[in-house]
């Protein structure tokens, strides 16, 4: 399932990785190549194994079987402090007894970089995450978004070959999260470091990633660009986890169609498929409205589009292009 990207060398090569906790098979025979400089997202619901894969790359968990190669060397048995990767933690894990600049310097300090140089590099990193002047503060005096940036600077200042991010935006409010998504992506292009990003938020994954690996029950269900994953989901799980999907029984065959490809109207049709029905509910969600329609043959379809002047209970026609339908295994 690994897509060839011949212009970039493979940096992280994961082969047949497995890990169980008691009776739970958290990661089940996962193989994955990560290319140098790419932004790869591990996407899946909680308990799907994505975080365990990340923790095995970082070295916090040892795999039961399989190998993790970093730049051609198997690192799967090395302790975290001997791997050229750094992590941005979900709870940031800033050291509460150190000020911001000492937090950022920490990695250089324990590696024996001398004081003048590490201070200079830490200040550059602080500027890079746009927190210049905050060096003297303690983590407790920062907001959630600022702590997040400090955690990022603390990892990036070491110039790791891979940066691991474990749901780093989960604790931020929506507005800040969307802003950080863009910033993070820009930062990644700027520094050119490979990012492996874990999230359960499909929108986040689609926004930021070069490629997405979708995890379910310890396995990768699909690996591809956001576009490929969205337009051509291989499995029902992927189609339902990434975006929304109508599963609809049409003359004995089950078809899958995204709500945004369905047009709702009172008479006109747009496309070669048409289904009549009655509007059960219209949910205004800002830019679009979600229309829930009970069809004449007893099914339900959801159409998402700009608001239409249709009242609940009205008879409507749903239409779409059959080529927008997709099949899953």
């Amino acid at each position: 399932m690994v897509l060839p990207q011949p212009d970039r060398p493979v940096l992280v090569s994961i082969r047949n990785l497995s890990r169980s906790f008691g009776v739970v098979q958290a990661v089940d025979d996962v193989s994955l190549d990560v290319y140098a400089g790419e932004f790869l997202t591990l996407l899946g619901p909680s308990g799907s194994g994505k975080t365990t894969v990340l923790r095995m790359i970082a070295g916090f968990e040892k795999p039961d079987r399989g190998s993790i190669e970093l730049g051609g060397t198997d690192v799967s048995q090395l302790p975290p402090y001997e791997r050229d990767v750094n992590t941005v933690f979900q709870d940031y894990a800033l050291f509460p007894h150190m000020d911001v600049i000492s937090n950022i310097e920490y990695g250089l300090r324990v590696k024996g970089v001398e004081k003048v140089e590490r201070r200079a590099r830490a200040l550059v990193a602080l500027e890079q995450v746009r927190l210049g002047g905050y060096g003297e503060r303690k983590p407790a005096q920062l907001s959630g978004g600022q702590r997040q940036r400090v955690a990022l600077a603390r990892a990036l200042v070491n110039r790791p070959s891979v940066l691991l991010l474990d749901e780093p935006l989960g604790a931020l409010d929506l507005k800040l999260r969307e802003q950080m998504q863009i910033e993070l992506k820009e930062l990644q292009r700027e520094v050119g470091i490979t990012f492996i990003f874990v999230t359960h938020d499909q929108e986040e994954a689609l926004t930021m990633s070069d490629r997405i690996a979708i995890f379910n029950r310890g396995k990768i269900e699909q690996l591809g660009t956001p576009r490929e994953v969205y337009d051509n989901p291989y499995t029902t799980f992927v189609s339902e986890f990434v975006g929304q999907t109508n599963k609809y029984d049409l003359n004995g065959t089950t078809i899958n169609i995204r709500p945004e490809f369905i047009t709702i109207s009172k008479g006109e049709t747009f496309g070669d498929r048409t289904v009549a029905g009655k509007l059960r509910d219209a949910i205004f969600v800002g830019a679009t409205t979600r229309f829930l329609v009970d069809t004449v043959d007893g099914g339900t379809l959801i159409a998402t589009q700009r608001h239409e002047d249709i009242a609940v209970g009205d008879s409507v026609i749903l239409s779409w292009e059959s080529e927008k339908e997709f099949l899953v295994n």
């Binding site: 970082a58 070295g59 916090f60 302790p79 975290p80 402090y81 990767v85 750094n86 992590t87 933690f89 709870d91 894990a93 800033l94 050291f95 509460p96 007894h97 920490y106 990695g107 324990v110 590696k111 983590p139 407790a140 603390r154 990892a155 070491n158």
Partner: protein, 268 residues
């Protein structure tokens, strides 16, 4: 919860009586240490600090104070090292018999002192052949001092979680560096609080001390006990008792303050 006026008055006065039972006698001891009358006529009609100077000049008192401090500091030091190690092991690793060990560590504080005392005394004299002296007092005190250090350290380690250590290792620090630069500084205030409590416990301990102190070694509580019924010494006994009260109360007050501070500001 709302309670009637009558009930509130009743509860308030009950609480007042309860507190008075505990603190009036203690206050009397402290006041009497300044009472000029040698027979402690009450209420005192004159105050003096001469008992305090006499107590300071008294050789027995000074020696006892020295032994108490030596025993307290040594027992606290042992408790800090062993208690921290135990708490670290119990909080960070899983191993066979962990729960049992956890219980066994905490048990000595609830064992009757007389049982601990007799057991230790037997062990020292008969099984090990160690003659009782200041070393045996220190070992005896360490058995219950460990408990408070262990409890404080364990609570802090559990609240710290593992992510700070993971972050440190992730940034390139090995286990020892991580303990020195990250774990220990974040544990420090809990250890200080535990150490203060341990010292306070050791300083006023008498039961275990009675059984583990050799002849000729008197800690302050034992000195009081030995001099309690000598009328000549009565004024000095009050002074020593007042000192014991102060030395035991300050650590407990400080350690409570410290634990409160650390719950609000130690972690975010």
């Amino acid at each position: 919860m709302t309670i009637s006026k009558g009930a509130r008055y009743a509860l308030t006065s009950l609480m007042g009586i309860g507190l008075a039972f505990i603190y009036v006698p203690i206050t009397v001891v402290v006041i009497n240490s300044f009472n000029a009358s040698k027979t402690f006529s009450w209420p005192p009609n004159e105050f003096t600090t001469k008992w305090w100077s006499k107590a300071i000049e008294n050789r027995g008192v000074r020696e006892a104070l020295g032994w108490s401090i030596t025993a307290g500091l040594s027992a606290t030091a042992i408790a800090l090292v062993l208690g921290t190690c135990l708490a670290y092991a119990v909080s960070r690793y899983s191993f066979f018999g962990k729960e049992v060990i956890s219980l066994l560590v905490v048990l000595p504080i609830s064992l009757p002192g007389v049982v601990t005392g007799i057991a230790l005394s037997n062990a020292f004299n008969q099984q090990i052949g160690l003659s009782t002296g200041v070393l045996t007092i220190v070992i005896g005190h360490a058995t219950f001092c460990i408990v408070v250090v262990y409890n404080n350290a364990l609570a802090r380690l559990k609240r710290m979680g593992t992510s700070l250590q993971e972050a440190s290792m992730d940034l390139g620090a090995n286990g020892i560096t991580t303990f020195r630069l990250i774990t220990l500084p974040n544990l420090a205030s809990a250890l200080f609080a535990g150490g203060l409590l341990a010292f306070g416990l050791s300083f006023d301990e008498i039961v275990v001390t009675t059984f583990t102190a050799g002849p000729g070694i008197e800690t302050l509580p034992i000195w009081i006990y030995n001099n309690l019924f000598r009328p000549n010494q009565a004024p000095i006994v009050n002074v020593v008792a007042a000192t014991l009260i102060v030395v035991s109360v300050i650590p407990i007050y400080l350690s409570q303050r410290l634990s409160q501070d650390s719950t609000s500001g130690g972690r975010f």
